[in-house]
Symmetry: C2
Subunit: 217 residues, 2 copies
């Protein structure tokens, strides 16, 4: 049976691959993006172009007033520098936006209910677990319990990449025909070109390199 799914889409590698995956499954997909005052708001343009390419309905919702409440993260506070390195590094804690995933997933859950969707899809993956507790399996399971008990048992949460590495996602994305350079944006800095040094630039480059190596084998 064809499922109707809300996909949270940032415009980065992971959620763009998730959108292509849902499209490939034949789901009726509604994509939802968030402007929460992130420096790298540029990612939203990529999200919009991807949806236009696939013919998917795209909604970007402005919750920048909420972002204003969530001080203390390098992603939303211009006074805090974006740290360089890997997600495992202690400095990456600076990129945690308090409760960000729960806020986005709660809003997306309400949108899914209002639109009569069966499920809500999120692109959290194992590479995020080190620094972001709201990407871990325990959070996703607890969130789904809360979402369902708060809403007469609906909708479900679909997180197919939960135990995948970012390289696994890159490989699937290439298989599904995504041109990551052209179609996605990751850099936290939000400049004209990717900085190449922040956590998400580093993780992205490594994942793409690993996926490319595997394809050459």
């Amino acid at each position: 049976m064809r499922q109707k799914t809300v996909c949270i889409l940032s415009g980065g590698m992971d959620s763009t691959t998730l959108l292509y995956h849902l499209f490939d499954l034949g789901d009726e997909v509604l994509a939802l993006s968030f402007d929460y005052g992130q420096r790298h708001r540029k990612e939203l343009e990529y999200a919009g172009r991807t949806c236009a390419r696939l013919g998917v309905r795209h909604t970007a919702v402005d919750i920048s007033a909420v972002g204003g409440l969530l001080k203390g993260s390098a992603l939303t506070s211009s006074g805090i520098a974006v740290p360089h390195g890997h997600y495992e590094d202690e400095s990456m804690r600076l990129t945690v936006v308090p409760n960000r995933n729960m806020i986005m997933m709660a809003i997306a859950g309400g949108y899914a209910l209002a639109e009569g969707c069966d499920r809500l899809a999120v692109a959290v993956h194992a590479g995020d677990h080190a620094v972001y507790p709201d990407c871990r399996p325990q959070f996703i399971a607890d969130f789904e319990d809360a979402l369902r008990s708060g809403n007469y048992g609906q909708p479900s949460v679909y997180a197919p990449f939960l135990d995948w590495t970012k390289s696994d996602i890159a490989r699937l994305g290439v298989e599904l025909g995504i041109d990551f350079e052209r179609d996605t944006w990751s850099c936290y800095e939000g400049g004209e070109e990717p900085c190449g040094k922040c956590g998400t630039c580093v993780e992205r480059a490594e994942a793409l390199a690993a996926a490319a190596r595997e394809r050459q084998r």
Copy 2:
């Protein structure tokens, strides 16, 4: 030890009593209200005046763009009439805003984390259970699990009225010195005067009458 608490404040009877209760406990309180495009936005003025009276820091956050996604409720859609009667009536399902409490509690949870608060307080009570699943004990327990697993174990959720009737709340409010007529707004219609017929007007009148009867005994 003095706790630091975020209180979700609508400006109605229940959350105003909760705010007074926290103030009475000696908590350091931050009050948070939401403009989600509700017809009865007037309640926010009452919330602001109550905070000014108590000297509590008050923040009203505009999530009306989110309200625009949550169609299908009489509280946010001008095309759907507000039903009359009691919360137990089937027609009251029309006043359910999909996932409303989870959205507000998720944002308040992020705010609590950003402000270094110990807990998040919500005024859900037994009178809400019939029609609103996101006011039931199971939802509150599941939500707290998700909030904590997503954020390194913090903050907790304080819902002291969870098993109380609205009359119990009215009685406590009177004891704490609240003048409900002057200090709170409930009516869903959001007109100049309360309509007296919608679910929340009916429940409010009955609770105040019951509390007054008990005081005369």
